[in-house]
């Protein structure tokens, strides 16, 4: 699921990968609202009964950015294969509940402010839009789907100085990231 402004943003990635599974576009951040997703990548495991059996985690399918985040893809891909093959790696319901992030009144209001800002932007109401993007950022300072995700909309470079300033405040982390064994001990401090 690509959390992007339009289908053209992730088009090259999707066409390049030519996946056999559904690869969808979420311009309105529906998924962020439903699952309380606060950064990308975020992955969840859902079992055959439609239940979340391993909650939010931020892992990678390649080692392209390992130097930045300190995580290796190999151990995670091994975990995935073991889950698909043998069901290993699923967590008990109590553990899923303990490890899943939950929204707060402020984070829910931030999503409303983001939705309003995005709508205003699409209507060409730049000034009003900017006010609400700013309000959303203030309400949810650790939500990068709001802060970094709005950078391309607001004319900022999500890989430029604004991003590194944001990263300096600390990268949002899910509880499961501290447990999933994809970091070498020496890399655990991360960026």
């Amino acid at each position: 699921m690509a959390l992007d402004r339009c289908a053209d943003d992730p088009r090259a990635f999707i066409e390049g990968a030519a996946p056999t599974h559904p690869s969808l576009i979420d311009t309105e951040h529906v998924l962020c609202e439903l699952y309380h997703i606060v950064n990308v990548p975020t992955m969840l495991w859902i079992d055959e009964q439609g239940r979340i059996c391993r909650p939010h985690d931020a892992q990678y399918g390649t080692d392209t950015f390992t130097q930045f985040h300190g995580k290796r893809s190999g151990p995670y891909l091994d975990m995935l294969r073991a889950w698909v093959r043998d069901g290993e790696g699923s967590l008990a319901a109590e553990a899923v509940r303990r490890l899943q992030p939950l929204p707060t009144a402020d984070s829910q209001l931030a999503r409303c402010e983001w939705a309003l800002a995005w709508h205003l932007h699409k209507q060409g109401r730049g000034e009003a839009s900017e006010r609400h993007f700013e309000r959303a950022s203030q309400l949810a300072p650790k939500d990068w789907t709001i802060r970094r995700g709005s950078m391309p909309i607001r004319g900022q470079n999500p890989f430029g100085p604004e991003f590194f300033e944001l990263a300096g405040e600390g990268v949002p982390e899910y509880a499961l990231e501290a447990i999933t064994p994809t970091r070498d001990e020496g890399d655990r401090s991360g960026p």
Binding site: I25, E33, Y35, V40, W83, P103, C112
Partner: protein, 137 residues
């Protein structure tokens, strides 16, 4: 006087009529019921078998219309408003969203692929699903 107004909810936008005065927005009760499912009754705001008590009815119902901010307060839902531009976004209460997640049932959604074809999570019931959120940013 009623003017064009847009209410954004769960990623969809609805064009309705509303009375807008300063930062106050009032919507016809029948529109509120059609859009959000909540009907104004003597016992309060009701949706199906569930009714929410309205302590300050005069704040909720003004001049025959339902005040949008008061409605959000009664329902405990977050509201972002830009009355001057005729737009508001109403969200889900954090308690409701937390309860939904704590049930562990993966919330269903329907989203388009590159060609615009719609896909729903529920179509994959019976298989393991790896859900990945990513972005070009």
């Amino acid at each position: 006087m009623a003017t064009a107004f847009t209410l954004v909810e769960e990623g969809r936008s609805f064009d309705i009529q509303a009375d807008v005065s300063g930062s106050e927005v009032r919507i016809d009760p029948t529109v509120v019921e059609q859009l959000l499912g909540w009907a104004l009754k003597p016992e309060g705001l009701c949706r199906g078998d569930v009714c929410v008590a309205v302590r300050d009815r005069d704040a909720l119902v003004v001049g025959g219309g339902i005040d949008l901010a008061a409605l959000a307060t009664v329902l405990g839902r977050p509201l972002a408003l830009e009355a001057g531009e005729g737009v508001a976004a109403i969200g889900t209460a954090s308690a409701d969203q937390s309860a939904r997640l704590a049930s562990l049932e993966a919330p269903d959604f329907t989203l388009p692929d590159l060609e615009g074809k719609l896909h729903s999570l529920s179509e994959h019931r019976g298989k393991k699903v790896l859900l990945i959120a990513y972005a070009s940013w």
